[in-house]
């Protein structure tokens, strides 16, 4: 079979990271080509280059024998390459038909007005092909996620796309809906359309794909026909990197059980999740993106309404309805996205550090600035925060130092249950090591630590025990001596036996 598309020697760097290093793939007409790998392996980056969202630093794209350059998404679309994004981007307030024909509305010959009648007829025909029983005049926001997904695919088809990229299309839809999606995919490939399929779910990869390419750390590891691989060989390819990162020695032995979460349920996000942490223990929460890890810890911290669930600390049930309740009960949480929920970027290092513990320096409503300054300066020293001064605006610090400011903020509260949501995300190796050291020290002090991480070596190197999540459930618990990347990956992919 002939390839319709070659991506040759594609490299792409972001500040501080080499996202793609000399990656080449070929896509054949009528095939489903699965692209798999860990979080951050470079799958999405590669596809965004193909769709014209990013520009490669080097390498070339050859489409139907001709080299092409996509500067914008429109260029890619005009050449028949369409991408259905993981986070869908429809205009929610517009109707289904307006979304499908957005930017290329059929126009009446005279007057230049939109020919709504033609738009309606065309949309009806298109939706009928997909057996999608949706009124073209319904607003996009009234559709289910799966329906939106299918509308997006229909939109791609209506553009006569030859290559459709699907980035984790089933991450938010039910089994039945994904069966329906696969039916459409098979129909498309029969007509010669090539599908590039990004997914973390092993089962569906083996169900739908013809060939499977594995990326790891920005390089291509393997490319095989489905028949030539097994789940195990694929997982090995995905995680098989050397443990090249150093972790500080453990300083503590876990004590008695201190913090327990039971039967946590959040509608459509978490299903009966529970675990417990001991004093001085570092409990890892592993899983792939979208497994519900962040939702779980945010719920514990009172940021989401739970439909069921209890928290016990030191043998007593505590009620957490909002973050303030959690803080009062000695729970701290370093959020996943420091810019979104961790920091006031336009405020100073000091103001960020002291905001939670302000009461400790406040008398009669007034802040004792010297006391506050001393406490913050101490933290800057202890955590080795590289900043010109306490009044430096946090925005101008590097990612690692920003993260240290967030850590300092919570250390100043003297909480004894510390939740860390991906504490080393986007941070350079040195700062990572320093943060690991801080975490070890906290465990030594007898604090109970819950640490989410997307990097499996980090879970293995740091945690005394780990629970693994998949699709809102805990699929496995692994003790320190059982922690291997293969086991974590199996649980994370929802393989429970």
């Amino acid at each position: 079979m002939n390839a319709v598309l070659f991506m040759k020697n594609i490299s792409k760097s972001f500040p501080g990271v080499k996202a793609l290093d000399n990656v080449s793939i070929d896509i054949r007409a009528g095939e489903v080509h699965a692209l798999v790998g860990e979080n951050g392996a470079g799958k999405s980056t590669l596809m965004k280059i193909l769709a014209g969202l990013y520009h490669a630093d080097s390498g070339e794209i050859i489409l139907e024998g001709k080299p092409v350059k996509f500067h914008r998404t429109v260029d890619a679309l005009e050449h028949g390459v369409a991408m259905v994004h993981q986070e869908l981007m429809p205009v929610m307030e517009m109707t289904v038909m307006e979304n499908i024909y957005l930017g290329r509305e059929p126009v009446a010959k005279i007057g230049g007005l939109v020919n709504r009648k033609k738009m309606l007829e065309d949309t009806k025909k298109l939706l009928a092909e997909f057996h999608l029983e949706v009124n073209p005049r319904t607003k996009m926001k009234e559709l289910s996620v799966a329906q939106m997904q299918l509308v997006e695919i229909a939109k791609a088809v209506s553009r006569y796309a030859k290559i459709i990229i699907m980035d984790e299309p089933t991450s938010a839809i039910t089994q039945k809906e994904s069966d329906h999606l696969f039916e459409q995919i098979r129909k498309l490939t029969k007509n010669g359309v090539a599908i590039i399929y990004i997914s973390h779910k092993m089962e569906e990869i083996f169900d739908i794909s013809d060939r499977i390419t594995v990326l790891r750390d920005g390089t291509k590891i393997s490319e095989n026909r489905k028949e030539d691989v097994t789940v195990n060989s694929l997982i090995k390819d995905m995680v098989g990197r050397e443990m090249n990162m150093m972790f500080p020695e453990s300083l503590s032995e876990p004590g008695e059980t201190y913090f327990t979460v039971k039967n946590f349920c959040v509608d459509h996000l978490l299903y009966d999740v529970g675990f417990s942490v001991k004093r001085g223990e570092i409990l890892g929460i592993a899983g792939l993106m979208g497994a519900g890890r962040t939702e779980l810890v945010e719920s514990i911290f009172g940021m989401h309404k739970i439909s069921r669930g209890t928290i016990e600390k030191d043998g007593k049930t505590i009620l957490v309805g909002k973050p303030l309740d959690a803080i009062k009960n000695g729970i701290a949480m370093l959020p996943e996205d420091r810019k979104l929920t961790g920091l006031n970027l336009i405020a100073s290092v000091k103001d960020n550090m002291s905001i939670v513990s302000l009461s400790d320096y406040t008398k009669f409503g007034l802040v004792d600035r010297r006391k506050e300054k001393n406490a913050c300066a101490e933290m800057v020293r202890k955590l080795n925060v590289k900043t010109p001064g306490l009044s430096q605006i946090v925005e101008s610090l590097s990612g690692g130092n920003q993260q240290k400011v967030v850590i300092a903020k919570w250390l100043l509260t003297n909480s004894d249950v510390i939740i860390l949501d991906d504490p080393t995300r986007g941070i350079d190796v040195n700062a990572k090591y320093e943060i690991y050291t801080v975490i070890r020290e906290l465990a030594r002090q007898g604090k109970a630590i819950i640490m989410i991480s997307s990097e499996m070596p980090e879970i293995i190197g740091m945690c005394d025990r780990a629970v693994v999540m998949c699709e809102g459930r805990i699929t496995g618990t692994l003790n320190r001596d059982e922690l291997t990347q293969e086991r974590i990956m199996r649980f994370a992919s929802g393989i429970t036996q």
């Binding site: 973050p323 979104l340 929920t341 970027l345 405020a347 905001i355 409503g365 101008s396």
Partner: protein, 320 residues
Amino acid sequence: MNNSLSKKNTLSISKFGIYIAFAAVFIIISIATPNFLTGANMMTVLRQISFNGMVALGMTFIIITGGIDLSAGAMLCLAGLVSAHYSVSGAADESPILLAILAGVGVAALFGLINGLLIAKGKLPAFIVTMGIMTIIRGISLVYSDGRPITNLNDSYKAIGQGFVGVIPTPVVIFIVLIVLSVIVLHYSKFGRHVYAVGGNNRAAVAAGINADRVRILAYVIGGVICGIAGVALTSRLNAASPQAADGYELDAIAAAVIGGCSLSGGRGNVLGTIIGALLIGVIGNGLDILNVSSYYQQIVKGCIIVIAVFLDRKNNSEV
């Protein structure tokens, strides 16, 4: 690296720009007009800007939380009418002056509370809410006064706006007291930190255990109280309360705050900047008065200053 350096430079220029601009304007007007830089005129300027300055102080709190209050002028007007109502001389039993003041301030505080509740608890956009409240208060003012000004105020009430403490006019003294209080609350209290935290990043503030709704509501109440005080002082100064009074004061206050470095997207601003902003607007107005520039042209000048200030604000934010 280069990028962050140039960012810092533009930031510091616009940070000190307002002081430089004020100094330049001050010197130019001093040279251009002989009557500007005299003790008497300085006191006049200060008294003129006191009223706008007070409203701008309250506006500073509100804008730093990421909000805005378009009903400030209307609040000021209603507070004046209510307090005037209680202090008309020759009434059968002359009410104590304190009651007149409290009634005026109280009614403005109440509307500040309503603004805050609708915005924080009702999750409604501040612009729309306060615009609606502005219209409502203007209507109430007309109904309350039957469309006519309230005049003939008693003497002790008149002293609030027309008196002097030493050589300093009473409204200026009130303004200075409010400045000191604002500095303490905004820059030295825990609540002040929360104001910045909520405006800078609401999600992070909530995650840090701050009751963001309460902070917002309190900011609007503070704005209301200050408008009430300004309303009483202005009514006393003019010796009359009119249902049309203080028209457009909210815009001058917003302008002063923004010129002084408040960011309309929240989290930035300070009391000193706002005061300089109010001074700049006042000094330019006074200078143009002395130069006999028609008030029609003055409006054009004021408008230009506001646009330039907002332009700087936007430039600042887009570069960060």
